[in-house]
Structure formats: C-alpha cells, structure tokens
Amino acid sequence: MNKDSLKALTNAHAWVGLVISTILFIIFFAGSISLFRDDINAWELNPHFAVHEQSDKFSFDSLINEVAQEYNINTHGYFILSMPTAEQPLANLYFEEKISEEEHVDQHLILAPNGKVIGKGNGSRWGDFLYELHYDLHIPEVGLYFVGIVTLFFFVALLSGVVIHWRKIISKFFQYRKDGNKDKLLDAHNLIGVMGLPFHIMYAFSGLVFNLLIIYQISYAVVLYGGDQNELFKAAGVVDVHLDETKIVMPVQGIDNLFLTAKASLGEVTIDRVSIDHFGDESASVTFRGADKSQFSTRKEATYHIASGRVLYLTKDNFDNDLRGGLSVISSLHFGDFSGYLIRVLFFILGIGTCYIILTGNLMWIQKKVNLRVEKQNPIGLKVVYAITTGGFIGTIFASAVGFVFARIIPIDFVGRSDVIGYLFFGCLFTAIVVSLNIKAQKQFAATFLRITAVTLSITPILDWFVVSQGIKVMLSFGYYHVIVVEIMLISLALFCWLIASRLFVYKRSEEIIPESHVSIQTQNL
C-alpha cells in the first residue's frame, strides 16, 4: 500500500473511531457486563426468594392450573416458561394477561424449583436492562439497526487498524513503551487490539449478523425468491408449526406427560424453555426447547398439539438446516455460553480491554489536536470530544454502578422499580456529559470521576450483605454463587477504574486541559 493510501486510511481510522466511540463504548461495556446477565438477574432477585429446598419435580399442570385460575391469560399473547436449571434454581414465567379486549398487561411470575408461584418479578429487570442497552441502547424501533451500523463501522475500524499496523504486527507485537505518554497510549491501543483481534472480529461479525441481518434477508428475498419472504424462511429452516385457532375453549392439560415424551424423544438435552401457543384454545400447542450440553452448539426442539399429543415438529440437530446451525454457532460464540464461567470471564476481560482501546483511541486524538498550533485548533470540537470521553465513557460506568446500587436498595415489590432504575441510569449518564461539557480541568475531572465511580461500584457488594445477607447465605448453602460472581465483577471494575485514574489521568497542578481561545502551550500535557 502506498504512502498516500496509508495516510488516508490512518485518518479514516481515527475519524471512524472517534465518531462511533461513545456508542461503541456503551455497547462494549454493557455487553461485557451482560455476559453475566443470568447472574445479575439471579443476584437481584434470588436473595429475596431464597428457597430452602430443592426439588426435581416441576409440575407444569399444577402451575398452569394455578396461574389460569388467577389470571385471564391472553390466548393470542405469549406464554413462556424459563425452566430452572442446575445453575438457576428459580423458574420464570412470562405471559400476557388480558384485562379487556384492548388492554393487555405483561406478567412475570417467579416460581420455586417445584413450579409453585412464589412472587412477582415485574420490577426486577436490571440484567435485562443492561443487555437491552447493549443491543439497542433502549431506542425503540431503530435502536437495533443503529447499533448494527455502529458495529459495521467498528468492523471497518478493525480492518483499517490491521492494514495500518500490518507491517509492524509481528515485530512490535509485545511493544509497550510505558515511559512516553503518547507511546504508552499507542502501544496499549495496538497491543490489546492485536492480542484480542480474533475476539474483536468475532464480535463485530456476530453483532452485525444479529442487528443487520435484515438487510441481506430483504435482498435475498427480493432477488432470489421473487419477493416471497416465506420461501426464503423455508430455505433458512424456519418451520411454521402454527395451527389455526378453532375458538373452542379447552383448558391446557397434560403438559407433564408431553414434557416426558419430549425428553425421551430429544435424547441428550437440557430443556430450558417451554412455550405455549394459543393458550386455552383447542388448537393450543406446546414447544420444548433446549440445548445438548454435550455438543458445542446444538439446539433441540419439539412441538406438540396439546389436545391430541400429536407431534407437530421435532428436531435434534439445529432444525436440520445449515443456516440455522451456523447461526446457532455464531450465537454461542457471541454469548460465550459453551464453556461455563471460564470463557465468559475471558470474554469479559477482552470486552473491558476493548473499552480501553476505545478510550486510548480518543485520548490519542485529543493529544494530537492539543499539540497543534493554536490557530489550527478547534476548541469546540476538542471540548465535545473531551465531554464524550470523560462524561460519556466514565458516565456509562458510573450510571451502571448507580443502577447496581439502586437495584439492590429499592424494595423488590416497589411498583415501577425497573423504570426508576432505568431513568436513574440515563439521568446519571446525561448529567455526566453535561457536567463534563462545562468542566475546564478535564484530566482532574476524569481522575476524580473515575475514583467516585470506583467507590460507587464497591458500595454494592457491601450493601448486598446489609440488605439481603440471609437470602445470600441460603443461596450459598445450596451452591448458588451468583451474588459472589456479580460482586467479584463489580470489585474488578472498581479496581480497574481506580487503576486508570491513578495511571492514565495523573493530574499535575500546572496542567490545564481545555483549550479556550487563549489556549497556551501548557495544554500540551494530557
């Protein structure tokens, strides 16, 4: 590649990285934490519903009977049961309650290991909130595609980074010059980028598949299948087992037997999800889904017509379709759900490492611009980049820390609990950006804000043992360590924040960072 092309690409790499930096930071930070989504959900909920006994007998029929008596379940709505597993003793039931023809209410019930209803979980969604933040930023309708486009530019930044660094990728593989400020940032950027390259490529690619698949779906449907999307779905292994509603009322019964039949038919499988279509109608069907834990990524599924017990669909191998098998592999890689905690811890470290790459990328850009001659500087642009870096990046971590604190202290049965925590999160993030825009001593602000964030992150593990110590002890006595996992994660993040504050944002009294119109040479040190 010639010199001009390399220069153009280097500029583009910096520009793309800067434009997507804040959103990408939020995506990676929330995604890294979401690797422990099940643990966070269990951390939030389980201590309040700590059960003193374990049970192998989960009765679907008694559960459905109990729920159908208390709620008017919407026949046209969803009815999904997330099963208890070896790692998660409590089950969750999600369904739509019909209040009137127009009004439907989402319900979430917490179930004991034997299927007994022990409480409502409508307000406990902190783990899910973070996960949703990761994939659509809580932006309705277009958030998914927006995150997809940002992921595409992340992929572009990755590939351009590899091209730029290609000649030095081997010779400078372990280079880290800790004494030079600029060199330190660049070397950390390159070192983590190259070390984690397969991980980054996997995440860029799989993220694109999840968020922008629709683009190719539409293209294929139009060009290859003459606009017939159903033909495309058929080729992609989507099986339609939907039965037409008969409008004959029939209670849902016999699920216990169908569960045993499904287990016997599917062979080696851990059924983790049971769903019912057309609840209460004669046409109702039940689907049992699960993974074969002895394989890398094999999903199994069986659907039965409840009234007759007839098999509507059964697959033991990813819907017997290469595309769905491939998507299942991509999904397993993305969620790191194929090798217990070890792989998720590794992915978490690499994910936080990516946040550090984004941070160093922005800091290098700032440093480059600050070092320009005064007349070439753009003070407003610099101020904005400072604000998105300190306010946006650290603000995201701080807002998450506040979310954890409030997810612990707000009573579990408080109405609108998850909404309050969501508003607090965005309130903190927005405030951090606004405050950051109005701060001149950015370096000092960043260091102080990081230390405050570290302290806030450390508060949650302490609160745990004050607020729900009894529940935690019961969980631990049965071998469920979700609370400990979350506490270790939070303390690790707190240490990381403190370390960054001490190493990267060392403030000297002589330094002033934000360049105003009278910006002086002393701004050169970031």
Binding site: L9, A12, W15, F155, V156, A204, G325
Partner: protein, 84 residues
C-alpha cells in the same frame, strides 16, 4: 470524509449483495449452505469495501473505483438471473 463514508457504505452494501448473489447463482451447493456462505461473506465484504473506499485520497476517486467494480458484478448478476 463523509462522502467517502457514503461511497463505502452504499457501494459496499450493493457490491456485497451482488458478489454473494453471483456466488449463489454459480455454485452448485444446496440452498441452506449457500445462504450460510452468503451470510459469512457478505458483512466482511461490505466492511472490506468501506476500508478500500477510505484508502483513496479523495471522494471522487473512491466513488469512481468502487463503481467500476460494482458495474461488472451487477452485469454478471443480470446475465446469471436471465439464464436462470
């Protein structure tokens, strides 16, 4: 920079669809496998074309070169689809 971005974004998307479609129409592989291969290739192609677009010193050159690659691929699409 914005113009080169749009060049890569738009032509990159069209080119990735077009190239994958050509493969789909040319290779005698079963349907679901072909869809998977297409999926595996399409996004890296799109991002790769964008990187290529950024490597040009100016936007005009980027639009021109990328279009020059897109046109033959689209012509092959048209030919293969008409022979289908």
């Amino acid at each position: 920079m914005w113009s080169r971005t749009f060049a890569g974004l738009i032509i990159g998307l069209l080119l990735s669809v077009s190239l994958v479609l050509n493969l789909n129409l040319l290779l005698p592989i079963k349907e679901d496998t072909m869809l998977l291969i297409g999926l595996l290739l399409a996004f890296p192609l799109w991002a790769g074309v964008q990187v290529w677009g950024y490597s040009f010193a100016n936007a005009k050159k980027a639009w021109l070169k990328l279009t020059m690659v897109l046109i033959p691929s689209v012509l092959i699409n048209a030919a293969l689809l008409s022979l289908r």
